[in-house]
């Protein structure tokens, strides 16, 4: 049983992208992909009717240069659309870069920003999840992921957990989101036999398992997880510490919530800090569909299908057996006790 939809309008973003004419024609796409993008994996994608072809855009955004990053996004979306992709997932803060510090207000976009209008306009016949700093009417700045489809924004997720420790300083500059809502991803180009339900988690959101659990309760077929994860931890043994953590989290969530999980991490360096990439799609049995990417700029193509989800959920009816009543009762008890304290 899921708490799908709901009367609180959980699916609708709180802003409308206004179509202010055609996107700037000057934004002619330069080649958005390195020449060695993996055509092989793309050839293997034999989409059946109703399958969803997802394209992971593992890129290195240019820090603080929204115009350059926008051009790149448009080129990649266009390439993906022409290549038969149905959904492009970009990394966290893909339009701005990550370690922005005092640049945050300078690169922030409002819901009616021409950059978003241009991106939305490019998303016809294909969907995209893009990362940006979203500015509210009252000058709060959110690390956000916006899902674009059919020329408009159909969902926005504002990062709920802002890491402010170690090398992270997000809460100094950004406001935390306060909602975790699953949504219906149109994916109209794929013509699925029923709508796909999606939930977005941005990087640090993934380190709090209640976040995917809350999304899963609303019904999720695919977790979309954009990330800007800096690589660190060289002492522990055979691999990068951060990569091991995400490997374990992505497998675990996909398996326990019997859903697909799309993890798109960025690459490149900012002020000496390297982002390790490793983007992958994990299937509902907890295994990546292919080896995760390395730390180069690459596009990765994968085919997702509802039939696989159905088969796995028959074998492992974990979602069916989830005890929402139990969780609610215990949560209520804890909340009452806290009130009494």
């Amino acid at each position: 049983m899921t708490d799908q939809g709901g009367s609180d309008g959980g699916d609708s973003p709180e802003f409308v992208i206004q179509m202010a004419g055609r996107p700037d024609d000057n934004l002619s796409p330069r080649r958005g992909v390195p020449a060695d993008a993996p055509q092989a994996s793309r050839d293997m994608v034999e989409a059946q009717e109703g399958d969803v072809v997802v394209v992971l855009a593992q890129i290195a955004p240019r820090l603080g240069d929204v115009a350059a990053n926008l051009e790149r996004h448009l080129a990649i979306i266009e390439d993906a659309r022409r290549g038969g992709g149905h959904l492009v997932v970009f990394p966290e803060l893909s339009l701005t870069g990550y370690f922005l510090k005092d640049l945050v207000p300078d690169v922030a976009l409002r819901g009616d920003a021409p950059e978003l209008v241009a991106l939305a306009a490019a998303c016809t016949g294909i969907d995209a999840l893009v990362g940006l700093v979203l500015e509210s009417e009252d000058a709060r700045f959110h690390n956000a992921a916006v899902y674009l489809s059919g020329g408009r924004a159909v969902h926005v997720h504002r990062k709920c957990y802002l890491p402010t420790y170690g090398l992270f300083d997000e809460h100094r500059y950004l406001a935390a989101g306060d909602r975790l809502r699953a949504f219906e991803a149109p994916l109209s180009a794929a013509r699925p036999r029923r709508p796909w339900r999606a939930g977005a988690l941005i990087c640090e959101d993934m380190w709090h398992p209640s976040a995917p659990a809350l999304l899963a309760r609303q019904g999720v077929d695919v977790f979309l997880c954009p990330s800007s994860s800096p690589g660190r931890g060289i002492v522990q043994g055979a691999a990068l510490g951060t990569a091991l953590s995400y490997d374990s989290m992505t497998r675990t969530y996909a398996q326990l919530f019997t859903s697909y999980l799309v993890y798109c991490n960025r690459v490149g360096f900012e002020d000496g800090v390297g982002f390790w990439g490793g983007s992958r799609v994990v299937g509902p049995q907890g295994a990546p569909l292919a080896d995760p990417l390395g730390s180069e700029e690459t596009l990765m193509w994968h085919r997702l299908d509802l039939g696989t989800l159905r088969r796995v959920r028959i074998s492992y009816p974990l979602l069916r057996d989830e005890r929402h009543d139990l969780i609610d009762n215990e949560s209520d008890r804890l909340r009452r006790r806290r009130t009494l304290d």
């Binding site: 240019r62 820090l63 640049l103 002492v235 043994g237 000496g272 390297g274």
Partner: protein
């Protein structure tokens, strides 16, 4: 000194992973500021040899400008070792700039200057040579300070500590050795006792008063692992050593920071005017 955790366990690194990150770092951060080559001082020691090897792999050997800057008291073997490194890596013939005339001309005015003062001056003369050659060769100055030196303050501010990029600054000396072995640097360079070679017979470990392998262990547990004094004692470090290293760590913090700016306005550089260095890159 007996330790319950061996240095090999605590400081061991996956050299392949580190190499990949450092090659990406050099390629990305050099290219982003509009350069395609680097210039560095080759001393004949392990740190500069490792940086040269990484830069040669990242950018191509022809994009690395090696500079040998001996003083008249420098060991001739250092220069020979530096040449061995350059030729093994396929670099261009090193530029040789003898800094004796400029250093001596200065100290003619201060004949009583002690060797610490002279050593610092040499390090700063070398820095000024590298920055001049940076302009002449359109090459970014790449530094060779490792994490042990930076934490202990065992370096000259505005001398060897001045450079545009530092690939080794997060690697302890013990880890530099591991990297040098993995990258198959010349055996002599890896095996000889580390020395700043500022005066004859100088040795890092003699001057510091402890071995790199031991202090790296302590620093790792103090800095990276944030262990308490009791935990450090349990690992086998004595109070005197912990105090000595702790003091060096604290007293040299100034060398690792930009100069202090007197706070006056609402936005003071690096305090509440905070921008990434890779701004727009």
């Amino acid at each position: 000194m007996s330790q319950t955790v061996s240095a090999a366990d605590a400081l061991s690194i996956d050299t392949a992973v580190v190499t990949e990150i450092l090659l990406g770092f050099i390629r990305d951060e050099v290219g982003k500021v509009g350069f395609d080559r680097v210039v560095l001082g080759l001393s004949g020691g392990i740190d500069s040899a490792l940086v040269a090897a990484l830069a040669a792999r990242a950018l191509g050997p022809e994009q690395v400008v090696p500079v040998i800057m001996p003083y008249r008291s420098s060991s001739p073997e250092s220069e020979a070792d530096a040449r061995t490194v350059a030729s093994q890596l396929g670099l261009m013939d090193p530029l040789v700039v003898d800094i004796s005339p400029q250093v001596d001309a200065y100290f003619d005015r201060f004949p009583d200057a002690d060797r610490g003062r002279r050593g610092n001056k040499m390090a700063r003369e070398r820095m000024s040579v590298l920055y001049d050659l940076s302009w002449a060769h359109r090459a970014l100055v790449i530094g060779t300070s490792n994490k042990t030196e930076l934490l202990l303050g065992y370096g000259t501010i505005h001398g060897d500590m001045a450079h545009a990029l530092n690939p080794l600054g997060d690697l302890y000396k013990t880890q530099v050795f591991a990297m040098a072995r993995a990258l198959e640097l010349p055996r002599r360079v890896v095996e000889k006792p580390p020395s700043a070679d500022l005066w004859e017979g100088q040795s890092d470990e003699q001057e510091l008063g402890f071995q790199y392998a031991v202090v790296d262990m302590l620093l790792y547990h103090m800095v990276d692992e944030r262990r308490t004094r009791d935990e450090l004692r349990a690992l086998g470090f004595d109070d005197e050593f912990i105090d000595l290293v702790g003091r060096r760590l604290r007293d040299n913090q100034y060398k690792r920071r930009l100069p202090l700016i007197a706070k006056l306005s609402a936005r003071t550089i690096d305090r509440d005017f905070r921008y990434p260095r890779d701004w727009g890159r």
